[in-house]
């Protein structure tokens, strides 16, 4: 057991690789959440739903295999941590902008009431619409988080440099099944704990759902 741990830490540089992947995923999730919260107002039209053109673009984007774009970027910018971070961030933002309006319930009566009591139009987004979309936005974050780990491992397998994908590829090259399984278990535990964290945040801050 100690040999396995020793080889994971020294041979596969698991701590640094794990930290690198986790940082890429969670920085993308956190910044992506705030960016999507801001950008959603440009996606929603006066009926508080995506317009015709936006719906068409989004329905096409749903079928775009982003994993290929990620791998292409890795080939174009080999070993670049920055490109990985930017790609994941853009993926999160796009995912949240596409998925949130599909399930968000922006009640017309809330918007009408806000207008009726004289809340300025510019504040209606932050005070009413953004609050209304929070349940859908956080659910989208949860789903995106699970996909993001798959995506990050996939593109790191092709990337030179730090990342859990590099450890996976090294374990695979060495036919080290034990290391392979331990990495999978550790990643699943991180995803599980982080998912529980997002669920907690949902319950705590979006209590009205």
């Amino acid at each position: 057991m100690s040999t396995l741990i020793n080889s994971l830490i020294h041979e596969y540089d698991l701590t640094a690789n794990l930290l690198s992947s986790a940082a890429a995923v969670y920085i993308a999730v956190i910044i992506g959440y705030f960016a999507a919260s801001y950008l959603l107002k440009f996606v929603l039209d006066k009926n508080n739903a995506p317009g015709k053109l936006m719906r068409f673009v989004f329905s096409y984007l749903t079928f775009v295999p982003f994993i290929f774009i990620g791998i292409l970027l890795v080939f174009l910018f080999p070993g670049s941590e920055f490109v990985e971070y930017v790609f994941l961030l853009l993926y999160v933002i796009l995912y949240l902008l596409i998925k949130t309006p599909q399930t968000a319930e922006i009640k017309k009566e809330y918007v009408l009431s806000a207008r009726s009591i004289g809340i300025p139009q510019k504040d209606i987004y932050s005070k009413v619409i953004l609050k209304s979309v929070q349940p859908a936005l956080i659910n989208a974050v949860r789903n995106c988080h699970l996909q993001l780990w798959t995506l990050v491992i996939a593109i790191e397998i092709f990337k030179e440099g730090l990342g859990i994908g590099s450890a996976v590829i090294a374990a695979s090259d060495n036919y080290d099944i034990a290391a392979f399984i331990v990495i999978a278990v550790i990643v699943s535990l991180i995803v599980f704990v982080a998912d529980a964290g997002i669920k907690f945040i949902h319950k705590k801050f979006v209590f009205w759902e």
């Binding site: 015709k52 809330y110 009408l112 009431s113 009726s116 009591i117 609050k131 009205w208």
Partner: protein
């Protein structure tokens, strides 16, 4: 605040067309003309059928919608401040009762103490004095209506338009809310216009009822009824069915 005893709202040749299914146009209000005298010490009732442009009429009257043709005017030159309370619960579930009511005061330049006093007064008026820190996230329609009403009154409006807001509540709550409206009407702080599709509710709330009907909304008739609630209900129902005004709830 308009201090006249009667405030008259005149609607002349009102037309409203909506676009449905992207490009199908439908007329929902067609050349509607009526006058209604809004009394200060009683609830003013408009009886209008379900799904026949009632919502749009309310939005037009309360100034929230301006894409229509025709004329909506008041018998005064001073500006009439109106508030609209929708049919569905409209208190914000992410804010507690006090914060919801405070939202109605956003456009007043009040100190913290003045705000506190004002909110307390409104909560007392609407029967919410013990619930200031409660969150309105539940299906207690009566509770949520009280919050919406307190928030609307915070604006010190001349007229509050209430759109069939009791329809989701149970019979006992409806009765309590009717009593609340009577109490508020008696305080003379604003005029209340309650629009409903329920003949019973209309008969409970007022003797003078403006009936709107037909599809699209095009006919209006003021009727005066008196006697017991059941007699009033019978008179209104007879009138509605004889003219075939549309689908109302008994």
């Amino acid at each position: 605040m308009n201090k006249q005893n009667t405030l008259q709202l005149s609607v002349n040749g009102l037309n409203k067309t909506v676009t449905k299914f992207d490009d199908v146009k439908q007329t929902i209000i067609d050349n509607l003309t009526f006058n209604i005298e809004l009394k200060q010490d009683s609830v003013n009732v408009i009886l209008a059928p379900n799904g026949k442009g009632r919502l749009h009429l309310q939005l037009i009257l309360s100034g929230l919608e301006n894409t229509y043709t025709g004329k909506v005017s008041w018998n005064t030159t001073s500006e009439i401040k109106t508030v609209y309370i929708p049919e569905q619960p409209s208190s914000f579930p992410w804010l507690n009762v006090k914060e919801n009511v405070e939202l109605g005061l956003v456009n007043f330049n009040l100190s913290k103490e003045e705000k506190e006093t004002e909110v307390k007064k409104l909560l007392n008026l609407c029967g919410l004095e013990w619930y200031d820190s409660h969150f309105p996230h539940n299906n207690s329609y009566g509770f949520r209506f009280r919050i919406s009403l307190a928030r609307a009154l915070a604006l010190k409006p001349d007229v509050v338009f209430i759109d069939n807001s009791f329809s989701l509540a149970d019979a006992q709550t409806r009765q309590e809310l009717c009593s609340l409206l009577f109490e508020i009407a008696k305080t003379n702080i604003c005029r209340i216009v309650y629009t409903t599709s329920s003949i019973s509710e209309a008969a409970t709330l007022s003797d003078d009822i403006l009936i709107l009907g037909k599809s699209p909304l095009s006919f209006a008739e003021n009727i005066k009824t008196n006697g017991s609630r059941d007699e009033k209900r019978k008179n209104i129902a007879q009138r509605i069915f004889s003219v075939n005004y549309g689908d109302f709830d008994l």
